[in-house]
């Protein structure tokens, strides 16, 4: 019997795919509609991303791990470190220690340019721009969806009030992305893939990126007429009815059984609800900051039930290099976006909480 040479990673990947296939097989009742959504010209990029994001992530991780191994090796062998500067194809005797950009990089880049051009040509020939007929001002289509790249934003409107979701959050995200280079105190990891040296940075970016993609996927595939939640493959029924009663957190507590026994009814009134919301949000920021601090410094290898706070020496060193301003800036953006978004999503979807903090000017 031929020996099946399957690594653990391949097995896991295969397993996930099989489970996914079975899941789709049993849950999707309306393949026709799924196909309609997936094949719409405007949805092609996001469908492609469903595959491209995992693939490129996987490729990036693989390369990082290879680099990390190399780094580990070189760190133990200073002599080797002197010769092995090359990472993609590590140096061997007889080879040039350094390779020039021209022509070796440029020719590859040129090839890629040509390939991308061909792809764009074919794409633009096969799929026309999804321009539609003139709009009817008396009738908005249902569901009325933004282009795919804005669907994450549109989906955010479900969880925050328009002012927050439409203006504040996007601004924070954009400013945050611009700020990143300046709050980064890590001198390593420039120009090559690495996980070990930029564990936290990569993790945070990956988290944010995946979250954004997830929102777009929800907006594209899950939200149907009336912006109602339809699982993929469920028919988008225009007459679908859902019972969806969202309450603000203070009301939720005030009217809960515990709230009643503790006589917390006053929480529903002004200014109690304002103060309450302020306290909750402040508490969230404090807790969130502690959470990120823990994430930043914990040594996952030594993490155990008994020891929750093992310190990672490397990360500790990085932290030491970070100024207070850099640290606080990062914490603000991280808690406001990376943590607040999923927390609010869960609150809203699982606990039907509408707003946590209700003020006359904005709601969170």
């Amino acid at each position: 019997m031929a020996k099946l040479n399957l690594s653990k990673g391949k097995l896991i990947t295969l397993g996930v795919l099989v489970v996914l296939a079975l899941f789709l097989r049993w849950t999707v009742q309306d393949w026709h509609q799924l196909w309609t959504i997936s094949s719409a010209p405007d949805n092609i990029p996001i469908v492609a991303m469903l595959f491209l994001v995992p693939i490129f992530t996987w490729m990036g991780i693989r390369q990082s791990r290879a680099n990390d191994r190399l780094i580990a090796q070189l760190e133990t062998d200073p002599a080797l470190a002197k010769t092995h500067h090359r990472k993609a194809e590590p140096w061997r005797p007889g080879w040039a220690r350094e390779i020039h950009v021209w022509p070796y990089l440029v020719r590859i880049e040129f090839l890629v340019t040509v390939i991308v051009t061909v792809i764009l040509f074919v794409w633009s020939i096969l799929l026309n721009a999804p321009l539609e007929e003139p709009a009817n001002p008396n009738l908005t289509m249902n569901p009325s969806k933004a282009p795919w790249y804005f669907l994450g934003l549109q989906e955010m409107l479900v969880y925050f009030d328009p002012w927050i979701a439409g203006v504040v959050m996007p601004s924070i995200i954009m400013v945050g992305l611009m700020v990143f280079p300046y709050v980064d105190s890590n001198p390593l990891g420039n120009g090559y893939y690495t996980l070990k040296q930029r564990r936290f940075a990569v993790g945070m970016f990956g988290w944010g990126f995946l979250m954004w993609i997830l929102l777009i996927v929800i907006g594209t595939f899950i939200r149907g007429p009336g912006w109602i939640w339809f699982w993929p493959g469920q028919t988008w029924d225009h007459n679908a009815v859902v019972f969806d009663k969202n309450v603000d957190l203070h009301d939720w507590i005030a009217t809960s059984r515990i709230g009643k026994t503790l006589h917390l009814g006053f929480l529903s009134n002004n200014p109690a609800k304002f103060i309450f919301g302020l306290l909750v949000v402040s508490g969230f920021y404090v807790l969130g900051a502690l959470f990120f601090h823990w994430l930043m410094t914990v040594d996952f290898k030594r993490l155990s039930l008994r020891n929750w706070f093992p310190k990672d020496a490397f990360e500790q060193k990085l932290l030491a290099r970070t100024s207070v301003l850099q640290y606080l800036t990062f914490q603000f953006f991280a808690v406001s976006v990376l943590l607040a978004m999923p927390v609010k999503l869960i609150l809203r979807l699982a606990l039907t909480i509408k707003y946590v903090w209700v003020t006359p000017w904005f709601n969170i």
Partner: protein, 1198 residues
């Protein structure tokens, strides 16, 4: 990953064994580079192709069109020559050609002469031109020199000029004999100039002469060529060559084929692909088949055909309207047929399916009742109003009487409230309280005075509105019968039976099936009957039974079946009603099939109904909201009488009453015996079966439930039901239903099915004609699909829904044939209003000239009363009776109701109004009745009060005509004009009395005038009185040759029994002289197939003379137009004169002559003195009778 780990681990160890070459440096990328370059080149090429053709699919179509069309043109080129030759064989063409050639021939000699003279003049001119111009040139130079010089030099120049003028030059003039020789003449300047000018003028004069001569031949030739052009089936070879050249130079692009109408923002590029639409040839798909003309056509061939209705295109020129204005679709889209036809999901105006094309007409012609040429649409409108859709659904224009009536009543009650308030104020003002100063009291008094004036104005306004409401009530009709009569009319047991399954009892009936309580039927859908369906039927039946008139009808004996059958078939019943069961029924679909009347109805009631369907059991007072009883009248010491004329007001409060049954069925003025015979005939066709027990119909609890149900189902939309007189329509207004956004049409649980083309009703299942499986799978998530399914199976959108019974759909299932379904669907999808239209409102059909408005207004009335069941109103239209088996023989055709296609031109509008008001023409003009009839500015009207006191007198002293059918045991109200046709008593058909209100009378008269393009108002031209001599001449002409009185009615009963044309005595009042004149000259042209003989006159110079072999001497001496004389004679005919006429030419009662026979009869009947006297004596009373017929109230002989 495991592999790479291994590699890395062995990195150092394996180093020496590894290839020495650095892969990054040494690896060649040329292979992949080549591949990429190739791919890039390919994709570049592809994108260029895509740009040129892929994105411009029409180019391919245009090329296909050009190649196929050219092929077709070449194939017909040879045939085209033949067709031209064939047309040239045509005698008419030959005549025209001969005329043209003769004219040419006639002037030929003159022309030749002129041509010769012209040549001569030209030669002279040619000869003189050159020397003259030379001389003139030189002279000009000398003069110029003289002008710029002075002194001696000037004098010299002037002298030179003098010399030049005097100098003679040689001119070679042609010889006058035309021999071609030249004569040399010496001429000085003055002579040259004169000769030059003279010959030039001569030439111009000659050419003018020639043109004058050629005028006639040219015109004739043009006429001939036009004839050829219009009569050729195809095109001439030259024209085809022209088309071929056009194809050679075809422009393969969009712009030259685009229609752009800036004014209305219309841009249509339909003709980019549909290139053959406006080609002069009638292109059929097979002409443009891919494998050559005549082969099997493909979809391209079907797209290239020419427009099937070029007449419509002529009215709606594409250059002004575009294509998408009518057909919808996206006129600008060219990239695919889906987009171009607007089948794209978001395009608001998807192209109408072929079978619904006329929906596009409705868009702009929404106000029309009849749109010429849109037969499907017209059918849809007919169905909408006749099948009772209008009972529940409001639609602008349809059944507007109900709405107007409600509005009028509301205005009345508002005004009355105001009057009451004013009166209160007046009382207050007139009785000032203590302590009011004199001044104030004066002021208040003045105010009360002014209020009194206001009140009197308001009262006048109320009177006006009352009158209007009276007319509206007269015109308001219901689709279904009056259910207040249920107890009088029906068998009790039959009622629940009918409710349970109307189609089972009477297939095709207007009564729809109320699927919520009716017995389940096999319609291919799961039945959705309410759980308490059976109980609902019982409840409704109980209410109807308990809340209806309970009275005693006059009992009736059975009559003569055979006579009844004859009457039924010949009086005109079949124009609306049908008879016979399913397979072999005859008659119209306008009203019910009467086969099974015997099973359901009460004989006494049916007799009364046939006798006068408008006669109501009791009048309804809309103010008190109840039916009045005899007691109400007794209280006020009034006889229990109600009619539309003098007794239309409520004795209690003066409100206008509903005094008629709200049926469109007219009064045929049958005698009671005849009515009885017809009823007997109808009852002989079926007999009641055994019915189940229906004692529940007397239960008061069920009655209560029934009341709620009747309200819910909106029964009162079509029926008059006690307690529901003011019930509003329960359905949605449909005027702009077609513009409802698709999202708001509730497909309910069928949305998905509709989108995917799963059709539970299989409405478009492939038939034998089009066996394509594809058709069935067509999605129906569109307006067409929604309407079609809704009207076919109204329960369909309740399928699978969980609903409270009161929320369930209520629309019942109507009876529809596939054709009807399509017509109604067409009507509905076209009903888009201004908002939903894809053209600006300024393009809508809004006739501004009164003529067209009159026509459109008239159609509503014409269609309402089914005039076209009996009459032909338009050329080519077929009435129902024309197709009945009894009228297929030539004799039968003579007995058809008159064609009305030129009625407006024929008759005097005042007379027509009178006739329509009372077709029996039996009314009497009395002053007091005049006031009641018509407030329109018409001349005095006759009246025919169905049950007025006058009519009662008539019944007491029946006119002789009525006496012919003695009312044996008659106890129904007698009616005036009994058993009598006003104009054509010889017809078995009876023009019934419709009881039109003055509003409708006006509308109808104006309609007929407008249809014939008559001027408004009609002013009768005074006719010159006849001199005695003229009278004599006319009389002789009248009696010689074709004896007019043979066919025309004279008033003699024995003679009239055989007569087939109207009485001349009516002519003066009835006909227009101009029409009569044309009619006399050539009747068959006005009414093809008429019995009136043609060729009575022949043209002699400018005048028409009688066409007789031996014309009477007086006629020969009469030198004016004979036809005009006869017209005047007829118009001015008096009864005395008619008598004299009859005396001169006593006509023995003869069988009705066929036109051929009539033509033979030429000799004068020379009756002896005795015959004459006898016939005078015999005829005398008859003539008086004839007059007395017009005054029904007067006893005979008075």
């Amino acid at each position: 990953m495991a592999d790479s780990t291994k590699d890395n681990e062995s990195l150092v160890k394996k180093e020496p064994e590894l290839p020495v070459k650095d892969p990054i440096v040494s690896r060649s990328t040329s292979g992949i580079m080549l591949l990429c370059a190739l791919l890039l080149t390919l994709s570049l090429a592809w994108s260029l192709y895509d740009e040129a053709f892929g994105q411009r699919p029409w180019k391919g179509m245009q090329q296909q069109f050009v190649s196929r069309y050219s092929k077709y043109l070449k194939s017909i080129k040879s045939r085209a020559g033949e067709t031209e030759a064939q047309v040239k064989q045509d005698p008419e063409y030959q005549t025209l050609d001969a005329e043209a050639q003769a004219a040419t021939e006639k002037v030929k000699a003159d022309i030749a002469e002129i041509d010769q003279k012209v040549t001569q003049a030209q030669r002279k001119l040619d000869a003189v031109t050159d020397p003259f111009q030379n001389q003139r040139g030189k002279l000009t130079v000398i003069n110029y020199d003289a002008e710029i010089s002075s002194g001696k030099a000037k004098e010299k120049h002037l002298k030179d000029a003098q010399e030049w003028r005097a100098k003679a030059v040689d001119v070679d003039l042609p010889a006058d004999d035309g021999s071609g020789k030249t004569v040399t003449q010496k001429m000085n300047y003055a002579q040259l100039e004169k000769l030059f000018n003279d010959s030039r003028d001569e030439k111009a004069r000659l050419l003018g002469q020639k043109a004058d001569l050629l005028k006639e031949p040219t015109e004739l030739a043009k006429k001939r060529d036009d004839y050829l052009k219009h009569h050729m089936t195809g095109l001439g070879p030259t024209q085809i060559d022209g088309l071929l050249r056009k194809m050679d130079q075809f422009d393969y692009s969009i712009l030259p084929h685009q229609i752009s109408v800036n004014e209305f923002n219309i841009v249509d590029r339909c003709e980019v692909c549909h290139a053959g639409i406006r080609e002069p040839l009638d292109l059929r798909p097979e002409d443009l088949a891919p494998d050559g003309p005549g082969k099997k056509p493909d979809s391209f061939a079907r797209a290239f055909v020419s427009h099937p209705n070029k007449e419509v295109l002529q009215i709606h020129t594409p250059d002004r309207f575009g294509c998408s204005s009518c057909h919808w679709g996206n006129g600008r889209a060219t990239t695919s047929d889906v987009k171009g036809h607007g089948r794209h999901k978001f395009w608001l105006w998807p192209m109408f399916e072929k079978e619904n094309t006329e929906a596009g007409c409705q868009q702009c012609h929404a106000k029309d009742r009849v749109t010429q040429g849109a037969e499907t649409l017209n059918l849809g409108r007919d169905l909408f109003s006749q099948r009772g859709c209008v009972g529940c659904h409001r639609y602008e224009g349809f059944d507007h009487e109900a709405d107007s009536l409600a509005a009028t009543r509301q205005s009345i009650s508002q005004l009355e409230d105001q009057i009451t308030a004013n009166e209160k104020q007046i009382r207050l003002d007139e009785n000032p309280t203590e302590g009011t100063s004199d001044e104030e009291a004066q002021k208040m008094l003045a105010q009360s005075e002014s209020l009194k004036v206001t009140n009197s104005i308001l009262a006048a306004r109320i009177d006006q509105l009352n009158l209007q409401s009276k007319y509206l009530m007269q015109d308001q009709k219901k689709v279904g019968p009056n259910l207040k009569d249920v107890r009088l009319k029906l068998r009790k047991e039959w009622v629940p039976q009918w409710l349970a399954n109307p189609q089972g009892f009477r297939p095709g009936t207007k009564m729809p099936t109320f699927w919520r309580f009716a017995e389940p039927m096999d319609t291919g859908m799961p039945p959705l009957r309410d759980k308490d369906g059976q109980e609902q039927i019982q409840a409704i039946a109980a209410y109807l039974w308990q809340d209806s008139f309970n009275g005693k009808l006059p009992e009736q004996q059975r009559g003569d079946v055979a006579h009844g059958k004859d009457l039924f078939e010949t009086r005109g019943c079949l124009a609306c009603h049908s008879i016979g069961d399913e397979e072999n029924k005859i008659g119209g679909t306008f009203a019910a099939n009467l086969q099974k009347v015997g099973e359901k109805a009460n004989f006494d009631y049916i007799v009364r109904w046939i006798h006068n369907p408008r006669e109501r059991w009791a009048p309804y007072c809309p103010k008190e909201k109840r039916d009045l009883t005899e007691d109400d009248y007794k209280k006020h010491n009034l006889p229990y009488e109600f009619d539309t004329e003098l007794h239309s007001r409520c004795p209690n409060d003066g409100a206008e009453l509903q005094v008629q049954n709200m049926t469109v069925m007219p009064n045929f003025r049958l005698s009671e015996t005849d009515a009885r015979d017809i009823a007997t005939y109808l009852f002989s066709l079926s007999s009641p079966p055994q019915y189940a027990d229906v004692s529940f119909m007397d239960s008061p609890e069920l009655r209560e439930k029934g009341q709620a149900l009747i309200k819910q189902y909106g029964c009162a939309g079509c029926h008059e039901i006690q307690g529901f007189e003011d019930e509003q329509r329960i359905g949605k207004e449909l005027t702009v239903e077609g513009a409802t956004p698709i999202e708001r049409l509730d497909f309910a649980l069928l949305t998905k099915n509709a989108e995917e083309g799963i059709d539970p009703l299989k409405l478009h299942a492939p038939s034998e004609a089009t066996p394509s499986a594809k058709q069935e799978e067509k999605p129906w998530y569109n307006h067409k699909g929604f309407f079609e399914h809704k009207i076919t199976e109204p329960s369909i959108y309740d399928q699978g829904k969980e609903k409270d019974p009161k929320d369930r759909l209520r629309m019942p299932r109507p009876f529809l044939t596939p054709e009807w379904r399509n017509a109604l669907t067409t009507f509905l999808i076209g009903s888009v209003g201004a908002e939903g239209a894809n053209v600006p409102q300024s393009l809508f059909y809004n006739p501004e000239d009164t003529r067209r408005q009159d026509i459109q207004n008239g159609w509503w009335v014409v269609k309402k009363y089914n005039c076209m069941g009996c009459h032909q109103l338009q050329v080519g239209q077929r009435s129902v009776v024309m197709d009945l088996p009894f009228y297929q023989t030539p004799e039968g055709k003579d007995l058809l109701p008159p064609r009305l296609s030129s009625e407006g031109a024929r008759v005097d509008p005042a007379w027509l109004l009178k006739f329509l008001h009372d077709p029996s023409l039996s009314g009497e003009k009395t002053a007091d009745q005049n006031a009641a009839i018509d407030n329109a500015a018409q001349a005095a009207k006759p009246t025919s009060a169905p049950s007025s006191s006058a009519a009662n007198t008539a019944a007491a002293a029946p006119s002789p005509a009525a006496a012919n059918a003695p009312p044996t045991g008659g106890h129904l109200k007698a009616q005036p004009g009994l058993d009598r046709n006003g104009v054509r008593p010889y017809l078995k058909f009876r023009m019934p009395t419709f009881n039109f209100s003055p509003n409708e009378l006006q509308t109808l008269v104006r309609f007929f005038m407008a249809m014939s393009g008559q001027q408004e108002p009609y002013i009768k031209e005074p006719l010159q009185p006849l001199t005695e001599q003229e009278k004599l001449t006319a009389r002789q002409m009248f009696t010689s040759g074709t004896p007019c009185l043979k066919c025309h009615i004279t008033g003699d009963p024995t003679h009239d029994a055989k007569a087939i044309a109207p009485n001349f005595l009516l002519a003066g009042e009835r006909l227009k002289p101009e029409w009569t004149f044309r009619w006399l000259l050539d009747p068959s042209q006005i009414s093809p197939g008429t019995a009136m003989p043609t060729g009575l006159f022949r043209k002699e110079g400018d005048r028409w003379v009688v066409n007789l072999p031996n014309p009477p001497a007086s006629a020969n001496e009469y030198h004016d137009d004979h036809a005009r004389l006869l017209v005047r004679y007829m118009m001015l005919l008096t009864p005395d004169e008619q008598r004299r006429l009859l005396a001169t030419a006593p006509v023995a009662p003869a069988p009705a002559a066929t036109p051929a026979q009539k033509a033979q009869i030429r000799s004068k009947n020379k009756g002896g003195e005795t015959t004459l006297n006898r016939s005078r004596r015999a005829r005398r009373p008859a003539l008086v009778d004839n007059r007395s017929l017009r005054t029904a109230a007067r006893p005979a002989g008075m």
